[in-house]
Amino acid sequence: MNRRSFLKSIGITAGTAIAADSFGASAQHQESPLFLSTNNRDRNVVTSTGLNEWVPTSAQPWDVHTINHLYRRAGFGASQSELKAILDPQTGKTPGQTVDALLNNSLLTRPTVPPIPTRADQEPPQPPSWLRVPLSAVYTDTKVAEADYLHADMKIRAHWAVQMHQPEVMLREKMALFWMNHFVIESRKDYFPQMLYAHLTYMRQNAWGNFKQMVKDITVAPAMLFYLDGILNAGIAPNENYARELQELFTMGPLDKNGNPNYTQDDVEAIAHVLTGWRIHMEDPQMMVALYADRHDSSPQKIYDGQLRNYNLESAGVPMDMDLIDHIFELRADAIAWFMCSKFYQYFVYHQITTDAQRAIIQQLADTFKVNWNVKDVLSLLLKSEHFFDEVNIGSQIKSPYEYLIGVLRAFDIPLYNPGAPIDGELYAGTLYDLAFAGSQELLNPPNVKGWPGYHNWMSTVTLPYRNVRIATPLLIGGSLPATGQDGYGNSYKSIDLWDYMVTSWGKQLSNYDGTFDDLLREIANYLCAQPPSATALQYVKSQLPPNTYEWASLNDSEKLSGLRQIANQILLLADYQLC
């Protein structure tokens, strides 16, 4: 669809003002239709949608509601200025163009290091010393300050939070979260910061890469060899740890789509034998891995089909000829495609797969995926689809701690990272780390090899009040997310502030800033929540506000500032705000 027909489909042609809809836009805001069109939606509608590319209609236009849906799922939500840019008749993008921009391959190779400052007083872009030394130097090389190692994992987490906060790379970072929760490592076991950073960087660079190649790479990645005991898997007494998870968690899952087992204990043991003998060169700054013949069991093995085969893993020192992985992908292609596409579906659309219609969609994705295992093809198909934009699915996910935190900052346009002062950005991000950790998500350190279970598990009688009492209200009413930690060099984290001018500039972008209270309340609610909150919920919000707020039009700017904080806070406390 070209821009012109797209704009027509949402009722706008360039240079033409849109008529106010029935929900009372005031005349002077007719030129700004952005936040007005969500009230009409019938949330009870149950539709049957597939993977055809979604085309906005007058009933479901490309507007704050649908753009924010894409931005919340493919990232961490949109700021008001981003929403306006997308809808701008001159510079705007269609849904398809927006997805394509997020999936731009140049984003994969955009460097993220340097700078990661190792200490607050260090000049960027000096690369951190711990990235330049071999694993064997950790804690032993006197030239490298011990503090650099002790706190390097915190630097990586802080840096990651800063990346999430940047809208251009939000999908890349969302996929990095996905992959780090798929090819899991835990910093409590993989304590080498070089290893953690290399693993995360690999996930970034392959955010929508080739899945089969990823499995080959991860099988001999230093962080994984270390985490699942590959370096201890030797000779005639193999360690099955990786061989089991390779199948159960990383590729095909225990059961296929019909509930039949994908592999047996014999397959686990056979693969463990094939993968014996790998070690990491601890003295090599590049963390080179190699196969050691004296630790490797080269006997032929039967995998899946009862045929004895020799697997070629003996080309030590050169890129590994992973015919084991080729064999797995050949014999279990359907199961792998189904398992992975189910995970993509759960991550981006809805976590419960219960209907035949959902299964049909996942099967279509799987058919696309198994052609050449390109993740990008699947993501592009899914994120542009009618099914992805189906009202039934909008607002059906529970926000993870980082989706919640980064989402709050982005919704109110609170800066976290000033490119000219990356050190400041890091100290701010440390505050985010503290908050997310207490909200049960410590990056790089999921609870076990299956990662965070996520979805309903993000939400409990611990985490929900934590979000409300420790994050929403302190930020919106108190004006800042208090800082509690230190960066390891004696520098305290900085609190993240929502200054009055931020609230004011945020509020003045609203169409109803000069309108009536009811319209303003609805507009803010519809911007902040994935689905418009019910009349009962908005009535409750209203009941919590000082009565003078209702006379919005008669308030002065200072009273409006206080009113905006109160309204936004009460909406963040709604159950609705936990959904995306």
Partner: protein, 556 residues
Amino acid sequence: MKRRDFIKSLPLGVAAAAVPFSIGGLFSGKAFGRSPALDVLLNAQGNSNNVLVLINLQGGNDGLNTVIPFQDPQYDINRKDVGYYTPSEKALLTPFQLRGDLALNPPLGTDFYNMFKDGKLAVLQNVGYSNPNRSHFRATDIWNSASDSELVVFTGWMGRYLETQVPENYPIDIGSSPDPLAIAIDYSTSLVFQGSRSVMASAVIDPSKYNAAQNYADDTPPNTNAGNELQFVRGILTQSDKYGKRFKDVFALPGATQNTVTYPTTNPLAVQLQKVAWCIKAGLQTRVYFVSLGGFDTHVSQYTKDPTQGQGLLHTYLGEAISLFQKDIENMNVADNVIGMTYSEFGRRVNQNGSLGTDHGTSAPMFLFGKEINGEVYGHNPKLDAADLDVYGDLVEQFDFRQVYASILTQWFGIDDYLRKSILNKPEFTSVSDFQSPTDGFKFPVNGSGTMQNIIRNPVPMSVSQNGSLAFNLYQNQPNPFPGITTIKFALSEGGPVLLEVFDGRGSLVKTLVNGYRSRGENQVIFDGLALPSGTYYCRIAFNGKTQTRSMTLTK
């Protein structure tokens, strides 16, 4: 109104009249620590005051190095490096012997061992299930959902039990108990508490510092994915709001957060059990607590013998935490109604691996503890001869873990056979005085008077009908015969837990239509048989320990 409240609200004369009727054969004359008559009176279906503490050992605790068959030559052959092998190593076991050929791992500690000596610690050997799964996650789910190995079940056994105790729209309506039915000392709850409609537990890290979220809206969200998720979040908001206020009241009382022992802050399990002790002392009506200890996945450098690292350190934590907790609640005089149970997703391979560790295995011992536990070793030692192991070199189970669950449900929570079958979906796991090994006919020890010994010293009497006024009726479905869809009505004289199920002509369960609280008066439910073959089906209602069945004819 819940059953218990209903009974409490009866005029005293009526209640008293029911008492002599009920005591009769139910008690063997042992003192219970409180009035048996009162117990009978208050124990409606599963409504005892008893408390269960679930201790989940995550990662797969190596059973052979927890309860150690140190005289077995096969143990020496298989555990040269990760076990007690040399004479000097074996000598370490002497003060921890359960009997001549079996000992606790010494890092569990003398205090823990003394609980066994005092008859408060039961060791159940070789607990597992047939066709065991060696995946952490699948195996954990199997234990929590109490499912067969091949069956994926999305609810937990505790969730299925607890949801018979509350209104159907729990937690939007939390019913009459002011306290959570179950508390997980964690950031989130576990599958074990998942009911068919909602989560039956609340997560709390520290109830004395709980910040409640505020509740609002009571409208019904649309029946979409998004609407259902909104309802889920609102349920948690409601729990947080209502229970949070209660925590605030309870823990504001002087002494509410004092213990009689010192729980070391460095022991991650002890700090959780400390909170449980507070809750019990405060008199919360919470029935089940969940705590956990992770790190048991010892593929590498297992360090069983070293109390300061690896499995040894975890055993230090475990033994110290449990023995301190038991001491604490006894000192505070609240131990009579509390038992605890440890469980782990699997034990580990008999033969050590090449990394001084052990890989995923199968059955393993469980611990049950408390004043009301018959402290014994139940079951034979693990059979380690190659001929007795499965094809992967793993142990074969002697008991099914659902027998242990059945014992707790019936003997500790006092639910009747019918509900027990429904919760466990395994009629063969009866347990009450029949805790018998399915594989080799082993039965529980016989006590001095020649009767079978239960795990629980004084089993709670199963639900009995205390009052004739609790009536119900299952009406014939309409229409009948029916072409696919039919309406089933039933009437209750008082609100209470109802189980309504449909079985096919072979007696197999086709569908559970109702499993939960239903209100007084007439209720109805739709049965959809469109996907079923024509034939005769049976609809059965269970209420107040009694059942009624009607046949229905499906003609398509």
